[in-house]
Symmetry: C2
Subunit: 881 residues, 2 copies
Amino acid sequence: FLIPGKEKCLISYFHMYGRYTQELGVYAKEEAARLRESGQRRSVSRTLDLLEYDKGRCAKCRICTVRCQKFLISRVGEDWIFLILLGLLMALVSWVMDFCIAICLQAQKWMYGGLDSNVFLQYLAWVTYPVVLITFSAGFTQILAPQAVGSGIPEMKTILRGVVLKEYLTFKTFVAKVIGLTCALGSGMPLGKEGPFVHIASLCAALLSKFMSLFGGIYENESRNIEMLAAACAVGVGCCFAAPIGGVLFSIEVTSTFFAVRNYWRGFFAATFSAFIFRVLAVWNRDEETITALFKTSFRLDFPFDLQELPAFAVIGIANGFGGALFVYLNRLIVQFMRKQKAINRFLMKKRLLYPALVTLLISTLTFPPGFGQFMAGKLTQKESLVTLLDNRTWAKQGIAEEFDYIGHSEAWKHPQVNVFVTLVLFIVMKFWMSALATTIPVPCGAFMPVFVIGAAFGRLVGESMAAWFPDGIHTDGTIYPIVPGGYAVVGAAALSGAVTHTVSTAVIVFELTGQISHILPVMIAVILANAVAQSLQPSLYDSIIRIKKLPYLPELGWGHHEKYNIRVEDIMVRDVRYITLNCSYRDLHNVLLTGHLKTLALVESTESMILLGSIERAQLQALLSLQLGRPRRLAYIRERAVEDKKRLSVVSNDSSENSSHRASQEVRFQISTEDSSLSPTRPVPLKPLKPALKRSSVVERPTEIPTGPHDHSGIALKNLFCASPDTEALEVREPCPQIHPTYTNTHTHTHTQSEWEEKQLDEQVNFNNCKIDPAPFQLVERTSLHKTHTIFSLLGLDHAFVTSIGRLIGVVSLKELRKAIEGSVTVKGAKVRPPLASFRDSGTSSSENEATELHKLWDRHKSMPLPREHTPSESDEKSQ
Amino acid sequence: FLIPGKEKCLISYFHMYGRYTQELGVYAKEEAARLRESGQRRSVSRTLDLLEYDKGRCAKCRICTVRCQKFLISRVGEDWIFLILLGLLMALVSWVMDFCIAICLQAQKWMYGGLDSNVFLQYLAWVTYPVVLITFSAGFTQILAPQAVGSGIPEMKTILRGVVLKEYLTFKTFVAKVIGLTCALGSGMPLGKEGPFVHIASLCAALLSKFMSLFGGIYENESRNIEMLAAACAVGVGCCFAAPIGGVLFSIEVTSTFFAVRNYWRGFFAATFSAFIFRVLAVWNRDEETITALFKTSFRLDFPFDLQELPAFAVIGIANGFGGALFVYLNRLIVQFMRKQKAINRFLMKKRLLYPALVTLLISTLTFPPGFGQFMAGKLTQKESLVTLLDNRTWAKQGIAEEFDYIGHSEAWKHPQVNVFVTLVLFIVMKFWMSALATTIPVPCGAFMPVFVIGAAFGRLVGESMAAWFPDGIHTDGTIYPIVPGGYAVVGAAALSGAVTHTVSTAVIVFELTGQISHILPVMIAVILANAVAQSLQPSLYDSIIRIKKLPYLPELGWGHHEKYNIRVEDIMVRDVRYITLNCSYRDLHNVLLTGHLKTLALVESTESMILLGSIERAQLQALLSLQLGRPRRLAYIRERAVEDKKRLSVVSNDSSENSSHRASQEVRFQISTEDSSLSPTRPVPLKPLKPALKRSSVVERPTEIPTGPHDHSGIALKNLFCASPDTEALEVREPCPQIHPTYTNTHTHTHTQSEWEEKQLDEQVNFNNCKIDPAPFQLVERTSLHKTHTIFSLLGLDHAFVTSIGRLIGVVSLKELRKAIEGSVTVKGAKVRPPLASFRDSGTSSSENEATELHKLWDRHKSMPLPREHTPSESDEKSQ
């Protein structure tokens, strides 16, 4: 479950700090694309000018063509072209997949039906088919692209926050996801297509964007790509359920923290177009007569429900809230159980396809219609059972199921011996754990649809009970309005899926799926209650998966806690910041790189002033060091020495005094440089040291290429640097530990000389000339509240921010500290930070206030440490007076 | 139309820079509230402890009470309590208002009906009633709270962006808005209640929040208040239309730029509760049998529309797009016409109530049922006409209106001589300009509902035409499905209101209003097309009002323009930044305050280094100056001098040398200080001047009270400062020009002495000790793109940002520059910034590229000016070496 790109969480969404931090290659490519585009346009218009003077035969024709070409090129960059293409593509993918899945399911039914002479053969056919399909799906995905496993929504959430997850948006993943999902759903397991569809749509958008970038330059822009990905998520849900509005809202709720309203129309436009094409395809295929909802209901319009039924709807909401939390918990429990049991784990790691096969075998055995399946409508596919559950007729009058005639698929719910209530209860219980188990299979699959069906079944159960309790309806005066259990099913479906995903927009999806909005108030009430309960008990399914997969994501702040307004950045920040000064030596650089482990280092003016000038990436500093100590310079030095030696040899060194003087001069040079470096932390800073460095680095518009990889650092210092010593905590930048280069032994210098040379090199002052400095890193002040910090981090997609006080650096806050502070069990200054959404859990108690924590200790430690600002006031006071 | 609080656009939403910039009073109040709360809690628990030992008779009872009290106090802070109260309140307000409006309208009908013997009396009654109501409404609003005039959505949009508009959220405004709106709508004019309801809900939230802050401390938090205001906007729309989902979405689209998804549930929760109560009140009042939609339709479910009808729906969408743009344009035109005609303007300013009365007279005359009103269904109220327009029966078969029987209100559309099509066309045309005119009346009113009705009428027109054209429906095989003109009306209503407001969520509102979602695809298609057309032609109605009222708001970036990625901050920033140095004199401060006009000034380390240390508000600096030159210090000086003089007099000054020596010493002191100040811009900066100042100002946790108002600055310098000389461009801070204080003449000093004293004071170095410095103002780098800048400004609600390059200040960008750059007609480096949403307007042309603009000139001017960073490199180079 570990993601390859996890540690490379380059935050790139709102990298507001200009382009300095971008990879050079990207910038160059963009420039090239822009130049190319403008060149193309110019050439087109020039051709046009030429052609207009050319009065040849087909000149008009050609002018027209060129004009069209020009128009197309200018148009291809427009967003709506992209969105239409995306919508069209996704509608086609969705429809083709649905078609294939339907064929797969029909094939199973056909096999099962054809073998009705022998129950054992029937069982074999019923069981083997899904096992083969799931195993194939798991194997195929495993081989082609393991990133395609699972829902994809958690990953999309992380990607939309600005984290780059490797290989998650490639063509390979697309193929694996589409084929894997088709097979998985074709097997008839309780799996959904909605989560994967979000991922597939994003893949489509990414690939389409790559394809379109052949025509124009703007497709290279990263923030545009993020906008398009957000729209793609809406398209994914929209064309999966033919629910454009619900799709947009669901995708916003599930993937975004802050939503740019200006992107709203993109989602609506693409999702509507996609849903439209998706349904039109069904009409053209003669499946439907006209465009209608996917699971059309036909409830009574004039009196959809009675006011007195509302408590029943509220009960559905609350119960489904608990159910949703239980589902998320169960799902996580299964995953954790499988991981913890080392024996099982080791065995399964060897035979990767065994787990899917076993789970499928278990589930399909239990649903075998002549077996246990007869008590839980095992014959029905997911779609069929949903259709029957949303039926507007009442199944059970007075609790007796046989009283009326079932037609079509509804027959499956009828069992000669067993009450319809028992069938429903069994269906709910069995499907519940089956779905929780099935979604842990490593195939592309979602959990929305199974949960939706379970919710509908629960709603139906309550509805049927109500109908049995009040056979003539509750309404007392005049007309009899019998209770509609189908309406309860709609409410239940929305509530349970809302509880599991922590979204409100499932209500809208339900209306669009059923084509009726008459139950809007019950649905809204139930969904809100379910959300309130579920959010106070468990994280959403997607957040749970994010935690399981340890994706780099910032948890949400909970419902209105006062505490989050009272905690300040100064309470959670790390005060022991690793920084480099503008006039530090390479040795300082080396030491800082050895001890710290942050990806970005602060650049301050000097140790005394601590004025923050900018931040530099670790890789940049490593490049600087390897440039200073690297092979080319060493070889140059050796060559120089060799020339000197040769010269000395050629004059047949009889003069030893010359040699000694040479050594002396060398020593002097050495001394000077040591002095320079040893003094640097304490010596008085030169009068205006800032200017030259500033001048040097401010002109870096396109810095020359620096070798970033540690290609030829055989030196001792660099070795130390890259092969982290055990006492430094897990270096985040894991560069391969370089072996001592074989060519090194060819050089004629001794190790002694080399280390001496290295020492000398280390003592030189760092030249930040060619270094890419981020000149405006994000800054906070000490008194910024946790709430605001969280808002800013989520808004801008930061992964760290420096804490400054009037220009001086005093601390740093990274995602880690913030996550710790939010996730709770952190007591700072007596204020307890509760875990998010815990308002229902421990509202009354406030006993655990003096719980000592890691952070508290940190706080104390740094308080006792002399801060840089505190040990120089007298000196500087003197100076200014 | 000028707003009093306009110039005081304190950006406070995401003021991430701690609390330094907050008003002291607010901070103190918060602290006090927190202390009070914690004290209260402690006392409650102490009472509890005491009681548990007390074994008296009613001890149990009292324990219970105290426990309840404790529970309530702990609960009252929860968001959901607040939201429930808000929802309840708004539902009641909405219902009571609807009730009153219905009574008003009935009264008019009753009067009109009772006087049917005499047409002239009838006319008088018909006309006088609305004129009186509107005039009362206008007068009442004018007197009580002029801020209540108009829709309120533009103001809420501005407030939610973080701008503080004075008096917009007060109780007075609430009363004025509620009563004014009731009267305005009761008059039967084509006005809406939706916009004002957003404002009323926000008012409710603000007042409720103020009320609740009596119980707990958290209601003081500003970012929480903003969250609650956003939820209140949703409640406003939600309880106005009984449309919770549409309300939430509409309010998001209309008021937000970036939406925090974590606030989503707040809106849903409150809006659902509010809509629920609103409808339950109707049921309890026996208006309805159960909870249903407000304008329930009963279209056919099985075959809502044919695929081949879609082009007609698309036509409605496109036509309504043009119509929406025309409406916005017309509305603006009327306002601008009334403003420009100075004669009219002057006359109307005198007789403020004349304009509303005249407009009402005109409109009600035209709708007089026996007169012209008979051709445009003038008899019907807005609600009645909407109900008839959404009717599921076809009015005109084969174009002949008489063929079938009209019942109820539909009768009004039938005219013996005139075709129903003519009636519809007349209705549309007349209502169109009437609504545009009526919404300019200075009463609380919205434009959503009138536009909605016009759209429905247009849709009906198209639908009836289609029905006349295809009497047996379009569908060819088998069953006959006649065309449903009511469906067209729904589509038209959503499309036109969407076009006017530039929103997509009108689609959802329509579904919730009608209770049917069967026409989802036509509605979505029409709304999106209408939006595309309208957005490319005109701003939304609300943005148009924002521009008319000149509210401080940042316009949106348009649909996918490439240019916005290519323009950089360095192209639009102002390079001539006003700044103050850390060791400047009061004279420098004075000069800077005189020349600049920004609200915030940059504080840099020194003129040479230009390192940005923070920013200081103008008011703070003025306070510093007035403290230095103010009366208390001058009086102290005078007293000191008087004492000296007295001493001199008492020793009978026979020693003139003493006197002269005194003068000399004074002169020396004077000289020292002049030297100090005259050198300050050029003298070499002391070695480490930063520390003492930093130390001084970094400890300002609770700065002592500084008098911010210019109460007693009679000095010449201050007079200059506050009464801006004509050559300084419009000072934004317009303080009252202080008269020379009468008490001043009582002091015994001569003007000469005073000015001398003042000069001396001005030459002292500024003590930033008690000054509130914002230590981390927002910084950008030169290469940040316009797109990113816009995003950051909208996200964080900034009004200016400093542009820095490795710590050095090089420019400043404020909302003004950004607005100019976005609003177009700005050419920077050959890239033309097109106005937003102009992609449909001038996509092919690129002729106006070399259009010289103000900004360009600015650019050239600053290029020719020597920049601070350019004239010191040699000097600093020397120093560092």
